[in-house]
Symmetry: D2
Subunit: 359 residues, 4 copies
């Protein structure tokens, strides 16, 4: 997915990598995928060492490994002077995320987080409607990520299960459900509303009996500036397809988006029936239309959203390389990751009281 | 609406009433509606006095007056030996609601609350699926009532506005938004889930600046037995149509209902796409099919839901009159109203802490 | 349904009738429904004779009997000076329908046809958008009525089946599927498009093997003025809920309506996403809003649509009685019924050739 | 689109091509896209000549050029021993298509047509339900492709308009609307229903006044074996998003699909509410699940559908190369293209009479 997304518009070419935590299997895996043998590395340090001395070294790394490896790998890559695209959660906690932010800033490196949901044309259009004032002052935000991945006791499954590492808190992170899915919902809400979460009053726990980890978090939200909202991350919702839903309500109207129908945004103004804005509508702003690649009515998916994100990182890097001021590009950055980790810490600490999200 | 609903199946006939708090206007109003002059009364006490001595007295009263009059009117009607159908909220607070429960029990009177949403065939089917065990143990409940009625500053409108009395807390009740809309959502969630709310952690306030009353309540829920959930009552949601949405998630699957599409229920079992059960589907249980009156595919509405509720009160009264044991009829009763008022009190008191809902 | 619809707004009161073709059962049936014994008649002639000499005679009759009785009953009622509301199809053929039109015109009587679909607020709004020019010149019309009533061999069911009389062409009419459901679709298309069908090229037949009657008609349409379209009436569509769908496409945009979701109309203008106009939206024309009875977001159904139709007949009769010019009221009339019967005749005759619909 | 689709799963690598009908612009265009200079050719003959003598020659060509060039280019590629993926319509008429079929068969070459709609997991599932007998005998098929591309007079636009060549019948083909969009709908209907169209009764013409070409075709269908259906191709439907809708009705139930919501298939069995089967549902057949690449609930689009098609061509070619019997792979082939061209010829000839589609 990430390879095809990065290459979709020709901004990036994936030339090699580390394909397993086991060096031998990494090299075999890379070969099987068709990469040149000399660029299938046994570990990230090896990659960084050897790429550094090539005359065509890589410009960036994309990190899609288990959660507990994100911080060390990203830190190493940043320190080696590479840009980073990193899966979420970017780190174990906010302190680690701040460390990554410091390293990126120090080295002048870009750090993008793989929150693909914020790169759909229609979530971008929702953000546009907020920023342009079309909705007026914001009044309420509802967001949820509901999924069935942990609806059954996967912890009793054979340890080869693809998800098993996640269930070990030392590897999966502070909160399985927030690190796994909830952080996407939190980021999307902040992205569209254009503000951070100031405090939370959360109920974290497990709805599947006898479970050692948290599979569900509900929270009351106060965004910075006082905007109210609610948040649900349900990882054990049997029957749910796997959906993020966002509703942002303003003084003049509301927008509603669901991942199930990612190419549409319901825009309802006071006293009117909703308008279903659709990717490709000729009356959308040109910068929204530019985020699509196929004619109106032709379905696009998450791959194209990721391609938008990868494209923006490339454009920013090229602008900088050319000495130009890069345009404002809204892809998720390490500062967003710091906020996400602070949000997770606050949710875990809350236990039904209002807790500030550390800045 | 209530008249046509009560009469729809021939169970009731509306023969008179009180049509204004002003005696003269009440009599005129009743005449204009075509009621016999001698049954258009100036007040409820007058109605009760005069009906008592007729040889064809009324069996019940339906109370659709401002909130602060519900308790005195209902108490008087119960004490006069009449059954009552009452609009929500049934009283100013839980103590008043308990008083009504006591009076009803003492006099052997029926007391139904006009929560029409729980009388749609498809909310009844949702409840059926929970009770039958089709969803397994329940794991999470989400409910919301979202409306735009207070999205603008109606408090600045001329005092003749139909809603103005609601804005005076002495008339509108403890919580405008919970008494006005939230109580419907709370009741529906309890009705379908088949259990009461044990405690809440709520955030009540106003999202429209400078407002003296609460237009928004969000809450984390714990139902009795520990079931988690969330609740939102938004009275100031510009652009919202006026919708209740309920999702009840169990061990084996979930049900999802929206008032916008009241004749359908989405039933999604683990690992399967949802089935859209629809009023009139021949494979529904006969007791659900019996709640509809027109062939499959012909829209029915809130009127028919209210007719189901009125029909059940009549059937229960007739069973009792005939000395029979009435069937279990799920219309909302005064005990549900007591719980609703206790829920409202808990939400108002919570202020971001867990508060028990008094039993 | 018809009784409650007629009485819903207080325009009409149903006071008696004929309730079976068997005189004794008719009287018993009427009594059971609570009508006064002296107005439960054994036949329509008896009703007409006896009502004529009352000092509170009926003003109109509503005819909901088997198809082959529509013409004689309606003719007798018109000749007795009563207004008529008649189920569809109004007659066996166009000649009979023209006879009813002549009788109605001669006697100055109103003749309404029970095409309830054209009395929903949102089909009326569709018509409004066509008439107001919002869609520009019309370019294409698609309409279908799809149902599963004859998907199984009901003709093999015991003869007590409620539908059995329909299967006898001498009683059911020229075309079972067009008389039973197709005529509703044809009328709705003409009603919204504001024009009649000039010619058809139709394929009528049975899709269930070995069937003696037609359960399916598909047709290419040319409306008067040359507008193209398509028409499908499918009575044997297993799995279909029972739906009418209409799409009217104009130079500037299109409208799309489905009976499944009768309170909404999708309005899509060139290059824009669709707007979902909904009954009760404050920005609808006042005459459309006036067709609803409950606040926005509260479902209404077919009963309320029929009530609109009955209300219009009453308003027209009262205007005439008061010597006023009645407003233009769009309920379906006998001239529409004549066109429907001519359309049915043309479909039956077409056999894959263009055939003119007789004027 | 085609390049990324072909490369998505690693089956193909695009190494060069012809990128304009003008040789110099073709070479520049190819360079700009990053292809090696020695494989950016000025014409297809040049490509075929030069690739033939390489030791790493191409295996196939994909032809996405104007309609009138499909036959000569495809014929040359087949004759040069290459497999072909060709855009629709494959040729000007059925005779040309038959010629391509002959050449492909003679040379043992594969010929795939870019009907991507038939390669979505859910249209494949629809086909599976027909083939498995889940729907019973088929009874009716409705298909339409509705679009707004020609809703305005693009023929009056400056001649640089991207679509202008299509408007010249010598380049666009026998029927603009059928070659442009209708053929996709026809193919999809035949693909899912598993049978060819035997005869049509069509109405072809223009709904935009004063137009020299046909923008609209409606048709009554008889599939081989007698199955009835209807077909609409509307290229001038202002307000339409660009959608294909298909409904296939059988003895036991129906399936309904829309391109707007390509990842879902509504499956409704007699007397039941519809089930919304969704790409990724764990209860789907494994061969359907295998057509998706991302977890349940993550949107995929047309790119992934095309990737399925390209993958099947590769698997068939590799099976043959390995001397194995290729599995039955349902991608659209030249014989389907012959049928499509014969269907177009029949529609154009029909003029409101039943016309056989030549075999």
């Amino acid at each position: 997915m990430h390879q095809s997304a990065a290459e979709l518009d020709g901004w990036w070419r994936v030339v090699g990598g580390v394909f397993s935590s086991d060096p031998a299997r990494s090299r075999e895996g890379g070969n099987a995928l068709g990469f040149a043998a000399d660029r299938c590395y046994g570990s990230l340090p090896e990659l960084l060492d050897r790429e550094r001395v090539r005359n065509d070294p890589v410009d960036a790394v994309a990190i899609m490994s288990p959660n507990d490896t994100h911080h060390p790998l990203a830190a190493a890559a940043l320190d080696a002077g590479l840009d980073v695209v990193c899966d979420k959660p970017v780190a174990h906690d906010a302190a680690q995320a701040r460390d990554l932010a410091t390293r990126a800033r120090r080295g002048g490196r870009l750090f993008a987080i793989a929150h693909g949901y914020s790169a759909y044309p229609m979530t971008r259009y929702a953000r546009h409607l907020v920023r342009s004032g079309a909705l007026g002052d914001l009044r309420y935000v509802q967001v949820e990520y509901v999924q069935s991945g942990l609806a059954t006791r996967v912890e009793d499954a054979p340890s080869t299960n693809r998800l098993r590492w996640m269930l070990d808190p030392s590897r999966g992170g502070l909160s399985l459900v927030l690190g796994g899915i909830g952080c996407h919902a939190q980021h999307l809400a902040c992205f569209v509303a254009g503000r951070r979460i100031g405090s939370v009053c959360a109920d974290a726990g497990s709805v599947v009996p006898g479970r050692a980890f948290s599979d569900t978090v509900s929270a009351l939200l106060r965004f910075e500036g006082g905007l109210r909202g609610t948040f649900c991350a349900l990882y054990a919702a049997a029957g749910s397809e796997n959906d993020i839903r966002l509703r942002v309500i303003g003084e003049k109207g509301l927008v509603e988006w669901s991942h199930r129908d990612a190419s549409r945004l319901s825009v309802a103004m006071l006293n009117q029936g909703p308008r279903i804005a659709t990717r490709g509508d000729a009356d959308l702003p040109p910068e929204i239309l530019a985020l699509g690649r196929t004619p109106r009515g032709h379905p696009e998916g998450l791959r194209e959203a990721f391609a938008n994100l990868y494209g923006e990182v490339a454009r920013e890097r090229m602008s900088i390389a050319l000495g130009a001021t890069p345009p404002e590009l809204p892809y998720p950055r390490i500062d967003d990751g710091v906020h996400t980790m602070a949000f997770i810490e606050a949710c875990v600490a809350s236990n039904g009281r209002w807790v500030d999200v550390e800045r």
